[in-house]
Amino acid sequence: MHDLSVSLGSLTIPNPLIAASGCFGYGVEYADAVDLSTLGGVAVKGLFLAEREGHPPPRIVETPAGMLNAIGLQGIGVHRFVSEKLPELRARRAIVFVNICGTTIDEYVELSRILSDAEGVHAIELNISCPNIKEGGITFGCSLTGTHNVVSAVRKVTTLPVIPKLTPNVTDVASFARAAEDAGADAISLVNTFLAMAIDVETRRPKLTNIVGGLSGPAIRPIAVRMVYECRQAVKLPIIGMGGIANPEDVLEFMIAGATAVQVGTANFVDPFIWSRLLDGLRDYMSRHQIQRLSDITGTLDTTARHKAWISS
């Protein structure tokens, strides 16, 4: 029997596949198509205290093996989420990671208090990395002190696992992982999207209303894998890896690099039924490699044979 469960601190999830925030609505949109209880978790769309309309369209543009988005964190706000969406997520037995975003530390604290009191929230993911809004979020994620301060403030007001989501738009992502660990985070998730842009050369206009957006999809995967690997060297915290995962091999690549769990985002847009395909692939790999517990492969990257490989290739 294959054991696909993994542990993120005190939270054990049945498999490592979590739907990535911003790529799965509030989860309920998919509930009739996908059995949410079969996922390792659902990271819901980033929530502020208040409702937000987000940016005017066009909000996405495709690029080779990827896409840029600048949605601007449109959202219904935490209160409507708790009253309108959470009951259905609970009824569907989803493991809910609530992604939160604030413009001040007080807002993160307030959001965390509200969610800690709500029934059916399993973890708090701190969005300190959205590249698409001017205020808040990324201000914390691009400063070591900011990261430390927001994590430790939230840590004090909740017993739920606290998982800051890190931006790749920094020089040394591992130092941010350390800041999160020092501040008492239970896990970290990375990477958010890479700040990027695309231009229509005929009109010389940006293809997104917001001019710049975040790049996601298979195009970013090798960079994301490298960043997970770097963080694995730097901290002991469980890592939730993400960036362009579309196949079972991609899940395994992140896990071998050091991720305990993963999130799948853009690929879910292409294939909403991707989850069972990924799970089947993981089971097949475990059979072929005689692995009973999938969590055993986390951080098992073998670098000892690299010189030999170079010689033979």
């Binding site: 309920v28 198509a33 369209p57 579309a246």
Partner: protein, 282 residues
């Protein structure tokens, strides 16, 4: 009551291409074997097609279901797509050959609500916006509702598939911008002429699909003549299921307050009076 987001019959099939009939240098009708989707589809719903087998383009594209294909016994066997070559994805679909496969997800979106007689239904189509009207016409005619199609294009040879509507018993009124067939000018010219001539007491509903400026003009006309109007909006979509929030349009809620509203799950069909047309990208 909980909101219903996706059709309970939502399926993703690796659909065989039965035929790809090129109508011109730009247009083709792509026939796909997808019985489960065809059986569940309602008028005006759409499918998300993966246009490449690889990662470029990465995302699927939304397409209205054009026709439902049936076997001799009337059972649904597949569907067709009315495709106009515009970008990379539509060009790949234009070039695709029978015998290959296309990943097809559906049915998706809020359908048209067909009106009952004695009300009349007027469908207004511009170019590739003809796509959702075969299924709507069939549903309307099945109820005994009289149906007219106002169909505009740049020139006569861009008016395709009129014969389907004529065979169904739809009154077809065409217009071309160069005057090569039907009325000379945009489709709003004959539409307004007919609106002027129609008794204000007779019930009528307008359904429109086409370029944004056309739908906006039709919506304005409908409002000024006091007629109900539904529009089917096409926006850039990432997923088609409400996950990504990329396909939003500014639409008024029940209290008249505009919000960014997902055209994939709250649309693509909207009451035209809800739409803030100034905010819509052309």
């Amino acid at each position: 009551m909980a909101q219903v987001y996706t059709s309970p019959m939502l399926v993703d099939v690796d659909a065989a291409v039965i035929a790809n009939t090129r109508l011109s240098e730009d247009y083709s009708v792509l026939a796909l074997a997808a019985p489960a989707i065809a059986a569940a589809a309602r008028p005006g719903q759409f499918v998300m097609l993966k246009t490449s087998r690889g990662m470029d383009p990465l995302l699927r594209r939304p397409f209205s279901i054009f026709e439902i294909l049936r076997d001799a016994g009337g059972a649904p066997t597949g569907l067709t797509i009315f495709n106009k070559r515009i970008g990379t994805g539509t060009s790949l679909l234009y070039d695709i050959e029978a015998g290959t496969h296309v990943q097809c997800l559906g049915p998706l979106g809020q359908p048209f609500e067909p009106i009952d007689p004695p009300a009349q239904a007027w469908m207004v189509a511009g170019g590739v916006g003809l796509a959702p009207f075969v299924t709507l016409a069939e549903a309307l005619l099945a109820r005994g509702t009289q149906v007219s199609l106002f169909y505009g294009a740049r020139r006569a040879r861009d008016l395709h598939k009129i014969e389907i509507f004529e065979q169904l018993g739809v009154r077809v009124i065409a217009s071309t911008e160069d005057g090569s067939r039907g009325a000379h000018g945009r489709i709003t010219v004959p539409l307004e002429e007919q609106l002027t001539r129609t008794d204000a007491d007779s019930a009528l509903r307008i359904y429109a699909c086409g370029p944004t400026p056309m739908m906006r003009a039709v919506a304005l006309l409908a409002a000024s003549y006091g007629r109900a109007c539904d529009v089917s909006l096409e926006q850039v979509m990432g997923c088609g299921l409400g996950g990504c929030y990329s396909c939003v349009v500014l639409a008024r809620d029940g209290r008249g307050i505009p919000h960014h509203t997902r055209s994939c799950i709250d649309g693509p069909v909207f009451d035209a009076t809800r739409i803030v047309w100034d905010a819509l990208a052309h």
